[in-house]
Symmetry: C2
Subunit: 383 residues, 2 copies
DNA sequence: GATTTTTAGTGTACCGTTTTACCACATTGA
DNA sequence: TCAATGTGGTAAAACGGTACACTAAAAATC
């Protein structure tokens, strides 16, 4: 059986005929200069958009010569001279974490748009691996770095590479102790505030919060956001579970954080009085909780409401689909790239913080709390 | 509440005191030569392991000088001279797809181990984006390329960059029409064969297969594997649904393939006679099917068994957890890196195919088929 | 009209490696 | 003793750009 439809035709897009793409015989700036009967300097000026030093005629002559020869400046040479490569180093615990994956994806897209390429480093939060990577940056001429969710337990770490232009996504500017640093963050406290607010409006009064160890800025801030929001509603904020077991993000680099959620389920079940709703540090943990509750016969959202943070693509996937707080990933990625490439006018200042507002995404894992009698664990009907 | 446990202490790992890491004042090969009282040539020979040209004494002198100055050769200069960069270009539709994400992660790890860095390009299967990236490779001095799941509909595409050392993961060597190409693949036909075998052993006789359009090698081979295996068991192989609607992998670059599974559910439900089990092209589609069936009241595995392929980390996450056929991702990644860096001894040959064996991972989405009467759609009990 | 400023260019010394060609000296074999 | 071979080393020309210093002509200013 074939379902009808079209599979868009693709043209083959071969390179322009006659213009060899082989590395061997690429045109150099000298070839262009000769072809256009101008000096190499002028071609160089052209390539660097210094048009004010060029007459209209030479300009067009150079342009046609470049087009004809399919000239592309040798980046290695350029970089050797200028000391800078058009490359952004991207340091991330692990792209296997779906939120990180989406962030890396969006950063790469934004970088390409800006004419930069991306050097990827999955550190697995291994200091040796990260140090090795960072140490080689200078040798490769990379001067721009974006780091995602760096540890807040190694505060002076990046100061060894203070000559880099660094932007940290999910980090506290003061934590990293750099003379100059830009950060890009979600308003983490507001995010959890929205979650609490949503649950409160549904009628929940006993709300728990689950996080793995507070090794990053977001983890710290979301927990404090939870406490603040609960106090604001005059609710008990003591049911915050900080899981400090071995499956911490330190070991797994966020890659299998679902396991953390799985692991947390028993701790949450042991809470007394039993909460009617749980806010998870992120979607992965939320999904781990969800899966474990379901196989333990605790119905979601009937017996327990669950809400996550991130709105990674994965959260649409669960059954029931996860209610969550969205981070505007693309916007944050663009901001990070922009910040790292165009550092603030005043070079002396200590950097900037760019903060994005979260958004509540209501799906199917939150409902009104049941009467107390009904909150008991009940067997699932199916199977 | 704080669950007890330890959060491993981390030392700060600052760079060696006295050895500045700043790009500004890095030691050059000249500095080393001066410090060791030898010529630059000798240092260069040392750096390139040409020890036969060095006496033992000069050798140690150079070694200590290098250590003292913390010398790292400037890659841009090296590359300008040699024309080659220690960089592997990694072309992938989108790392948001969890299988691709894991593959990219593993390739990056393997590359680092080999002393290479990785340039990432998410093409979103956009020919313009991909061409742009590839065209710049020569300018950057990159000579090694790994591409994941390239389209088989653009057969001559890569021939424009025939000077690159190319390895394709999930591709047919003949399809790409390159003079020289190494491929790394799962034994796709065997994978689906294992799935059919597993379902057959459980008692299933009406088995459907769901795939999106056959735009990659794996899609072609898995479908043919399905047909072969069904014929081998003397079963009807006509229930193969090839979804050719707009949400094809072409548009979404595998990123949201769950939607494809969602979309396919209605087509599968319309099949007559109704199958008792479905094999999905991959885990993403399987999970999409699973989620849709569940919200439509079709119980899995009671009413319908589902099995995927890949064993991406995500497949452990669903409820019930997905039975699937595992690809040995790390091994495949290592093989790809190895192949791309050490092309076969005989440079004249047309390349090699490395094929990996799949592995059945039994979880909870496959069961014995029910009696016919029970296969009807039934309303869920919960909510 | 003399002087300054602007415009539109050019020549060339680098950037930090690799590599080729070459050299001095020691050893060997005939 | 002489040529051949090997050993350990050096000098210097690239690689392909950039940017500084400079200039000649045109335009603007006083």
């Amino acid at each position: 059986m074939r379902v009808s439809g079209t599979l868009g035709d693709l043209n083959d897009m071969p390179p322009k005929s006659g213009s060899p793409t082989d590395a061997a015989d690429r045109a150099t700036i000298q070839d262009v200069a000769k072809a256009a009967s101008v000096s190499v300097s002028s071609v160089s000026n052209y390539m660097n958009n210094r048009f004010h030093r060029l007459g209209t005629e030479t300009r067009t002559r150079i342009a046609t010569a470049i087009a004809e020869l399919d000239f592309r400046p040798n980046q290695a040479a350029r970089q050797l001279k200028t000391g800078k490569a058009r490359v952004i180093a991207l340091v991330v615990p692990s792209i296997v974490n779906p939120f990180n994956g989406q962030m890396v994806f969006s950063i790469e897209q934004a970088a390409v748009k800006a004419g930069y390429r991306v050097h990827l480093c999955n550190t697995m939060r291994d200091p040796k691996l990260e140090k090795e990577f960072l140490d080689n940056l200078a040798a490769v001429g990379v001067a721009d770095l974006i780091t995602i969710a760096p540890l807040n337990t190694r505060r002076g770490y990046y100061s060894a590479w203070s000559d880099l232009s660094i932007v940290a996504v999910d980090a506290n500017r003061l934590d990293l102790k750099l003379a100059r640093l830009d950060t890009v963050n979600l308003d983490h406290e507001a995010a959890i505030g929205m979650a609490v607010e949503h649950l409160f409006a549904l009628g929940h009064r006993r709300i728990a919060y689950v996080t793995d160890p507070l090794i990053t800025h977001s983890r710290v801030m979301r927990l404090s956001g939870f406490k603040k929001a609960m106090k604001d509603h005059e609710l008990d904020d003591s049911q915050a579970v900080v899981l400090e077991r071995h499956q911490s993000a330190l070991d797994i680099a966020d890659a299998q954080m679902v396991e953390v959620g799985r692991d947390a389920a028993s701790d949450v079940a042991a809470l007394s009085p039993r909460p009617t709703a749980i806010i998870a540090f992120n979607d992965m943990i939320a999904l781990g909780l969800l899966a474990t509750f379901r196989s333990a016969g605790i119905a979601v959202p009937t017996d327990m409401s669950i809400i996550g943070v991130d709105d990674a693509w994965i959260s649409q996937l669960s059954f029931p689909a996860l209610t969550t707080i969205r981070q505007p990933i693309e916007a944050m990625a663009s901001a990070a790239v922009e910040r790292v490439l165009k550092p603030n006018a005043a070079p002396a200042n200590a950097g900037s913080d760019t903060i994005f507002l979260p958004e509540l995404v209501i799906r199917d894992t939150c409902a009104k709390p049941q009467e107390d009698a009904a909150t008991r664990v009940r067997k699932r009907h199916l199977e």
